[in-house]
């Protein structure tokens, strides 16, 4: 059982960004995708989530055997795909508590109501774990949140929605080291044989805290290199430029 991306091509406004990307994230593993700016990292996360701006022009994506590209955005979510956004949107007037509740309710069978008491118990426990003040339940989603607060709330939502595959899009950006640890602890606590993670990041730093099983390097819309966690260290030491040279040599 895994999230399988095969020869994926995707374009925005006619410009191809993903140019034959292949990747397999089995349940129980954490895969990191690293790459320079403009390599297509964020495009990959948005295409997997089903953003309308991107047109899939070739290839396939399956989640535990099911064709992901056939599903609507919300169907993908309910099937178990979660995207922790790099820039989460603000939803004015909708409280965190009501938002997550609505998302949970959307997963209930028709006619069944979410049980409020156990919902709040669960919510508070996870907020405590992430060091989020309980006052946040009454705040509008992401409105006026600091960068760190936004990221923590992405992880909180992921914990509450219990996905099968979690995609973290540059979750480390804008975080100080303490917040980074809290966020990483949250993700680590969710690691299980029943769940896979795709961690997208520009910097190696996050991978000190969320230790990946595999590291892939994305450049110009393709995975150009895959390896173990040592690959991340090598990138950190040598920068992305050496890869470009290798691509040129290989090409």
């Amino acid at each position: 059982m895994s999230l399988v991306v095969k020869d994926l091509h995707a374009a925005i406004d006619g410009t191809e960004i993903l140019k034959g990307l292949s990747l397999e994230v089995p349940k129980g593993e954490v895969h990191a995708i690293m790459g320079p700016n403009g390599s297509g990292k964020s495009t990959l996360s948005k295409v997997l989530a089903g953003h309308d701006d991107y047109e899939v022009t070739g290839g396939s994506v399956t989640m535990d055997g099911a064709d992901l590209l056939e599903l609507e955005i919300d169907e993908r979510s309910r099937a178990g795909l979660f995207l922790a956004f790099q820039y989460p949107a603000e939803v004015p007037g909708v409280t965190m508590a009501n938002f997550i509740r609505a998302a949970r309710q959307a997963r209930m069978p028709e006619g069944e109501e979410l049980e409020a008491v156990s919902y709040y118990k669960d919510l508070y426990a996870k907020m405590d774990q992430l060091g989020i003040d309980r006052k946040f339940t009454a705040r509008a989603v992401n409105e006026g949140f600091s960068g760190g607060e936004k990221k923590r709330n992405e992880v909180l939502q992921m914990m509450m929605l219990d996905p099968v595959y979690g995609i973290m899009d540059e979750t480390d950006s804008g975080l100080d080291i303490d917040a980074l640890k809290v966020v990483a602890d949250g993700v680590n606590s969710m690691r299980s044989p029943e769940r896979g993670f795709l961690v997208i990041t520009h910097y190696q730093r996050l991978l000190d805290y969320i230790e990946p099983d595999h590291v892939h390097v994305l450049a110009d819309g393709q995975i150009v290199r895959s390896g173990g966690k040592d690959l991340a260290l090598e990138l950190e030491a040598r920068g992305y430029d050496f890869l470009k040279e290798e691509v040129v040599v290989a090409g």
Partner: protein, 476 residues
């Protein structure tokens, strides 16, 4: 129910679902029917049936003349007003049921209607008093014993003018004169039903009083007349909710509501209206706030073909306060032309207007505001905020704020915004598992959330549900 061919399927579905509670009617057996059209004979007919005292008969006839002499306000208002054909409207209908106090006395078929509207349950649950209106005559009214003991009068307007003339008459038609506009004149000529409430000095009525209004006859205009007087230092919240079945032809609703808050009194009037999309809803609502008194209008307008409603407060005494909080939702085929009038007529008076509108599909919402602060006063303040949310590219909104401030000892503030539910916000919400429609209605509910909180609990729940239903046809 027959179909309304002018609306597209999506809108029609949204409206159909919307009427789940109100979309039903029972065979009509009106003992009294004034026929169609309006003439002095119609007015006499109404007076005879209602056994009006002479001063009321005179008042009605004068009003009819005023109505006939007044032009339609089409120089600034929508042309759609011209489509009202006053000659095909029935101005009075009653099944002859006398207003009753106890539930047992209410006829069975009327009771059945009320049960579907949920009135008995609500009354048992928390209401201190209920007056419900079936067609133009109140069929059921009930004031809890404790309120009666305290001297609160809560009756329909007919009973008010007959049994409590000494309190009723001095204020009747004084807050809103007959000639205020064409429709206040029309109401003054043919009014029936509505509430009369008097709260005695110093009494704080803890539970909101509530009335249900409902149109049940095709081509039948409803002309309720409500007068509420809060004597010195008293407090009252009054709630008015509307559900209406849909009809094949145009229906006219033109109420007049007058509020009087004496010195130090607080009066809050809450409306949630949800008319079917063929109703012309042309309402005049105004309150007078005396010294240090407060009048608040909390108003939610959903549905109708055209709503024109600008609740006003005349701040007549020093330190009087006026407030209008309103939510309007216009779907395809609907025009919500709403706003507020704040007339400062004494020193140190304060007014606040917060208006939020949502336009869906081809829907149109208009904010019209008037704030008047004359030169000879000092220390007056006004705050006006109006925010519009456009859902579809074909939705429309207009804002016409008229703020007249003379003199330099006042403070006014005006903010207006127009926004849309952004694609990124929808994507974010959908990524959490909400369908596009659910995401849209959550976003819209978020937009009005701070105002919805001003409504009592059971209304705010109903409001959220109504907004969800209205949003269902807006996407996909």
């Amino acid at each position: 129910m027959s179909s309304e061919a002018v609306l597209d399927t999506g809108t029609q579905e949204a409206i159909d679902i919307d009427r789940s509670k109100g979309d039903f009617s029972y065979p009509e057996s009106h003992k009294f029917d004034a026929g169609v059209g309006l003439s002095p004979a119609t007015v006499d007919y109404i007076c005879d049936v209602k056994n009006d005292p002479d001063w009321v008969r005179e008042f009605r006839h004068k009003a009819l003349k005023t109505f006939e002499s007044k032009p339609m306000p089409t120089h600034w208002a929508t042309k759609d007003l011209e489509n009202i054909d006053f000659d095909v409207i029935r101005y009075y209908l009653s099944d002859g049921t006398k207003p009753t106090r106890s539930w047992d006395e209410v006829p069975d078929d009327i009771k059945e209607t009320f049960e579907r509207l949920g009135i008995p349950q609500q009354e048992r649950a928390f209401l201190a008093g209920v007056e419900a209106q079936y067609d133009s005559e109140a069929a059921y009214s009930n004031v809890k014993e404790e309120l009666e003991k305290d001297g609160v009068i809560f009756v329909n307007s007919t009973e008010g003018l007959k049994e409590h003339e000494e309190i009723f008459r001095p204020w009747f038609g004084k807050v809103i004169p007959t000639g205020d506009n064409k429709f206040s004149a029309l109401n003054s000529a043919v009014f029936s039903g509505g509430s009369f409430i008097y709260v005695p000095k110093g009494l704080k009525v803890r539970h909101p009083l509530q009335a249900y209004f409902r149109i049940n006859s095709e081509n039948f205009g409803q002309f309720e007349r409500t007068l509420i007087i809060c004597d010195e230092g008293s407090e009252l919240t009054y709630m008015e909710g509307c559900t209406a079945p849909k009809f094949e032809t145009t229906t006219l609703h033109s109420a007049v509501v007058e509020l009087v808050a004496m010195k130090d009194a607080k009066l809050q009037y809450i409306t949630v209206q949800n008319w079917s999309s063929n109703v012309f809803n042309l309402v005049t609502k105004r309150g007078i706030a005396h010294e240090n008194a407060e009048v608040r209008w909390i108003d939610c307008n959903i549905g109708s073909r055209l709503t024109m409603k600008y609740p006003g407060v005349v701040m007549k005494g020093r330190k009087a306060r006026g407030e209008v909080i309103s939510i309007a939702l216009a779907n395809s085929g609907q025009h919500q032309d709403t706003g507020a009038k704040m007339i400062h007529a004494a020193d140190e008076t304060t007014s606040n207007v917060v208006s939020k509108s949502i336009s869906v599909g081809e829907g149109r919402s208009t904010y019209r505001g008037q704030v008047h602060i004359p030169k000879h006063l000092k220390g007056c303040r006004n705050n006006t905020e109006c925010d519009a949310l456009l859902i579809n590219s074909s939705s429309r909104t207009d804002t016409y704020p008229a703020i007249t401030v003379r003199g330099n000892q006042h403070a006014t503030q005006h903010e207006a915004s127009v926004s849309q539910v952004s694609a990124e916000m929808l994507f974010y919400m959908q990524q959490r598992g909400l369908s596009e429609g659910a995401a849209m209605s959550l976003a819209v509910n978020g937009f009005v959330n701070d105002l919805v909180r001003e409504f009592p609990m059971e209304y705010s729940v109903e409001l959220k549900r109504l907004i969800e239903l209205e949003m269902e046809g807006s996407v996909g």
